[in-house]
């Protein structure tokens, strides 16, 4: 027998894995994230699990004590499944918090497409209904030739092709349908490829998926390509996090063929699950979905497409591909119509990927008359400055704090996340959660509000340290330092107090500092000041809300007229959606990615100085935040 059932407790989850699978991978398949900051190398000792029944082949590790070994404790990454197993996972081995699940969750589409697309509606995979003339002795062109001709007339191009499989029974299909057929036509590298031919008019049944693939979160949409409507939206944590939460660990892990295989499998399983979930919710037959379009950072795209990422991490940090070729879905491994096509938005450079190019597209930055800025706050703060004449982009390694990752009660902007906070003079806290549910945690916009409110009420000093002297039951000492209670146990949905710790604040302070200093460095590079900006687009997974006043007051964003700011939600996903709906938009992304100059902040001598100066609330140089009173 070469397959075994592994049961995970206390989750009561079962997975079937082949012999030789390591337990870390098995956990991941079960949708359980273990801590593995070393990326499954057996070095960090954080992925301890207890084998209660069954046999594993396990390397002896000095990170497991003799006493632990006797109790069945092993490192998951170093243990190979040899039989059916029952495995207990201690709380402390779990990467994220129990109130976060690995499953995808529904979230509100944050920016529905406008009734009138800014681009011509002509999807990447289009369904064309053809009413062909029946052949006669005079008009004796072949069946396929007849279809080609009709499509060539339609697309005004000679570049139409198809596969052998599509034409084997074409003669019957045409005659049985009275020469009335629908051709599914994909756009690939400037040419058109017939993906399928079916009888009758099925143009109404044309669907596609748009994805934003981030280091921490993955967001997807099911789009009706015919009506231009978004039918469903889902968000999930990137399952690769189980192999290391940061991008570098993952690159290292993906530098071996086996590692790359596992990382790719992890993200593909994410996508599969979201696809299935959305299709089921909308009662759509997956066989009718012929297009997937992804906007993602360059590393994520390497890992998804199984392109060796080794060189990204090595001087001079050049990616193998930034503009990924269009490929059949079957080659990517996603479980969809295998004949369908997989598209991706091209990136600018290693750390300014297709997600930001998609953002430039959807925000319209590339056609601005005046100086504008796009800030995409994800795992990296990616920033593009410019207008219709020129653009310059940079990435600030902000970390995933504003995505809710790595914080005691951080979570994505989904139901139950605290997104608005106010604190009164007596230090009473009023929260507003997404969906008005009982709070489960705090999302990025909630943290931004919280920091501002805490600073305003002097709960934290300007360096972010909690004032130990304040008399309030919300301020208390924990194992590592001080914390502030945002919602008490009885108000929360997780059965315990929801807190923000000094470590969280430190994390958020670094994240906001990295983003602000990147903005300033970029402006400085082109001889501009924050005051010169006429428009600022804020993008990111903040759900439906970010308080610009709070963001400025904590020093995340420059202190300029608040009216110049516009929150545009997940601009990467919006750009992916536009590209999927319009070839014109997709082609525009290929112009945009070539038009952005990349600035490597790590080689900017002033950046580090700027960064240290910004590790303060709002900033060391108060003169830059004249309107902020803390």
């Amino acid at each position: 027998m070469s397959e075994f059932v592994v049961t995970f407790e206390p989750h009561n989850k079962h997975v079937i894995v082949p012999r030789g699978t390591d337990l870390l991978t098995a956990c991941l398949r079960a949708g359980i994230f273990l801590s593995a900051s070393c990326g499954g190398e057996g070095l960090c000792g954080k992925c301890k699990v207890v084998v209660r029944k069954g046999a594993v082949k396990s390397e002896r590790s000095r990170l497991v004590s003799e006493e632990e070994r006797k109790k069945g404790v092993v490192l998951a990454c170093e243990s190979i499944v040899e039989s059916d197993l029952e495995v207990f996972i201690p709380q402390e081995s779990i990467e994220t918090h129990p109130h976060l699940t690995a499953e995808s969750e529904e979230c509100a589409p944050d920016m529905l497409p406008e009734e009138d697309l800014p681009f011509k509606h002509a999807p990447m995979v289009e369904k064309i209904y053809l009413e062909l003339d029946r052949p006669t002795h005079e008009d004796s062109i072949s069946d396929l030739g007849r279809i080609y001709k009709a499509l060539e007339d339609r697309f005004k191009t000679m570049s139409v092709s198809t596969h052998l499989a599509n034409v084997k029974h074409l003669g019957d299909v045409l005659r049985e349908s009275d020469f009335k057929v629908t051709a599914t036509v994909g756009y690939k590298d400037g040419a058109f490829e017939i993906l399928a031919l079916e009888p009758g008019d099925t143009t109404r049944l044309n669907y596609g998926f748009a994805f934003d693939i981030g280091t921490t979160t993955v967001t997807g949409e099911l789009i009706d390509l015919h009506s231009k409507k978004v039918l469903a939206t889902r968000i999930a944590y990137n399952r690769q996090a189980g192999y290391g939460s940061d991008i570098i660990t993952r690159i290292i892990y993906g530098s071996t063929p086996e590692g790359l295989e596992k990382l790719s499998e992890a993200i593909v399983s994410n996508i599969d699950e979201m696809v299935e979930d959305m299709a089921e919710a909308c009662e759509i037959n997956l066989a009718t979905v012929g297009a997937v379009l992804c906007a993602g950072n360059v590393t994520m795209m390497h890992l998804l497409l199984k392109i060796d990422p080794t060189h990204i991490r090595k001087e001079p940090y050049v990616a193998t591909v930034t503009a990924f070729p269009t490929t059949p879905i079957s080659e990517v491994g996603i479980e969809l119509n295998p004949k369908g096509l997989f598209f991706s938005v091209p990136g600018v450079a290693t750390y300014v990927g297709g997600d930001i190019v998609a953002g430039v597209l959807s925000s319209g930055l590339y056609k601005e008359e005046d100086l504008a800025l796009l800030i995409d706050i994800g795992t990296n703060g990616e920033i593009v400055l410019g207008n219709k004449e020129w653009m310059i982009g940079a990435a600030a390694s902000a970390g995933p704090a504003f995505e809710g990752s790595g914080l005691a009660f951080g979570m994505k902007a989904v139901k139950g996340a605290i997104q608005k906070v106010s604190i009164d003079e007596k230090l009473g806290v009023a929260c507003e959660t997404i969906g008005s549910d009982k709070p489960r945690g705090i999302c990025g916009s909630g943290y931004i509000d919280l920091l501002f409110q805490m600073a305003k009420r002097k709960i934290i000093a300007r360096n972010g340290k909690i004032d130990r002297g304040l008399a309030s039951k919300r301020i208390r000492k924990n194992e590592y330092g001080y914390e502030f209670v945002v919602a008490f146990k009885d108000e929360s949905a997780v059965g315990k107090d929801i807190v923000i710790t000094e470590d969280d604040i430190e994390n958020l302070k670094r994240a906001k500092g990295a983003i602000y200093s990147a903005i300033i460095s970029l402006l400085d590079k082109v001889g501009k000041k924050a005051e010169d900006l006429k428009r600022i687009y804020i993008a990111g997974g903040f759900g439906s809300y970010i308080n610009v006043e709070s963001a400025v007051s904590i020093g995340l964003l420059p202190d300029i007229d608040r009216k110049l700011y516009a929150y545009i939600g997940n601009s990467s996903l919006a750009g992916a959606r536009l590209s999927l709906l319009s070839r014109e938009a997709f082609l525009k992304t290929h112009e945009i990615h070539k038009g952005i100059t990349y600035l490597d902040l790590s080689s900017e001598p002033r950046y580090m100085d700027e960064y240290i100066a910004s590790l303060f609330f709002p900033h060391t140089d108060m003169g830059r935040f004249p309107s902020v009173r803390l």
């Binding site: 300007r462 360096n463 590790l615 060391t620």
Partner: protein, 307 residues
């Protein structure tokens, strides 16, 4: 035709911090409106000053050439302090409460404060009082020391970005000034000054320690940070307008060139470092060898004569 010198004019200036009181000094440091010794461009109303450093216990880790200069008086902190003033003419004394450090025997803070008080009574010069560098012990002992010297207007140290609140609160209550320490980083220096001021402490009672590094061991990094802080102050940055205090003795006598090549070499090392720091803008130098104090004071007198 004569050459006219280009002269910089600045809008800002350095705060003046007074240490001591009538009958104990006082001395004033700071007040500059120019980079060091450019008398054509601005004022240096108060000459920089070199003070001697004494411990409240025998400094067992000091190198031999340095110990030799002081002899047996190292065993008696009060006598040692008196010699600094009466024999070597120190105008300011820096007392380090090293005896409370856990690695130095961890003397109870009350005993250490008693020694400090005895030392303070034995001399009539202004005092700089430093803790031992262990946060927990300092937070216990420095408030007591501050209280014991209430009204003496001492300069207390060292406040760091992670441990400034206790010292700030106690100096505020007892009327002392404070030294704010930063790790060769102009931003952190400024942040700490803001944090201390945010507690209601008068920024004009803060001196900055930008980190001291010895000749050959990173001194030029400190030099450039001091220069940057000064230039920022002169263009009006109030949160960097504090006088600069440097602990040259502690660094110079750590390096092997000073420790192992004889007393004269050690003194030269300490002196050279001091002079470089004066040229970078130091207002208060704390040195360990009496001969260094004499040479540096002589240098200051000489260069200030051009005023």
């Amino acid at each position: 035709m004569g050459i006219e010198l280009v002269k910089e004019k600045y809008s800002g200036g350095i705060n003046t911090v007074e240490i001591g009181k009538a009958g104990r000094g006082p001395v004033k440091i700071g007040g500059e409106t120019t980079l060091p010794f450019l008398f054509e461009e601005g004022q240096m109303p108060h000459p920089p000053i070199a003070g001697l450093e004494v411990f409240d216990c025998e400094p067992v880790d000091w190198p031999e050439p340095l110990k030799k200069a002081w002899g047996d008086s190292l065993k008696d902190p009060v006598k040692w302090a008196q010699r600094c003033v009466s024999e070597f003419g120190a105008k300011i004394l820096c007392v380090r409460m090293q005896s409370i450090h856990p690695d130095w025997g961890g003397r109870p803070s009350d005993e250490a404060v008693a020694t400090l008080k005895a030392m303070a009574q034995a001399v009539k010069v202004p005092l700089v009082v430093l803790g031992c560098g262990d946060d927990d012990k300092d937070n216990e002992a420095l408030p007591k020391a501050s209280q014991a010297l209430k009204g003496e207007n001492c300069l207390f140290g060292i406040a760091t970005q992670d441990n400034y609140k206790t010292l700030t609160a106690t100096c505020l209550a007892d009327g002392h000034s404070i030294i704010a320490d930063s790790p060769i980083d102009i931003n952190i220096a400024k942040q700490l000054n803001i944090l201390i001021s945010d507690m209601g402490f008068d920024p004009k009672r803060i001196a900055m320690h930008p980190t001291t590094a010895s000749l050959g061991y990173g001194m030029e990094y400190v030099y450039s940070i001091m220069e940057r802080a000064r230039l920022a102050a002169f263009i009006g940055d109030k949160m960097l307008s504090m006088p600069l205090a440097l602990f040259v003795g502690q660094e110079a006598w750590k390096v092997k060139e000073a420790k192992e090549l004889g007393e004269k070499q050690g003194v030269n090392w300490e002196t050279a470092t001091s002079v470089a720091m004066l040229q970078a803008g130091a207002d208060l130098l704390v040195v360990r060898h009496p001969e260094t104090a004499r040479l540096v004071t002589k240098y200051i007198d000489m260069i200030m004569r051009k005023r």
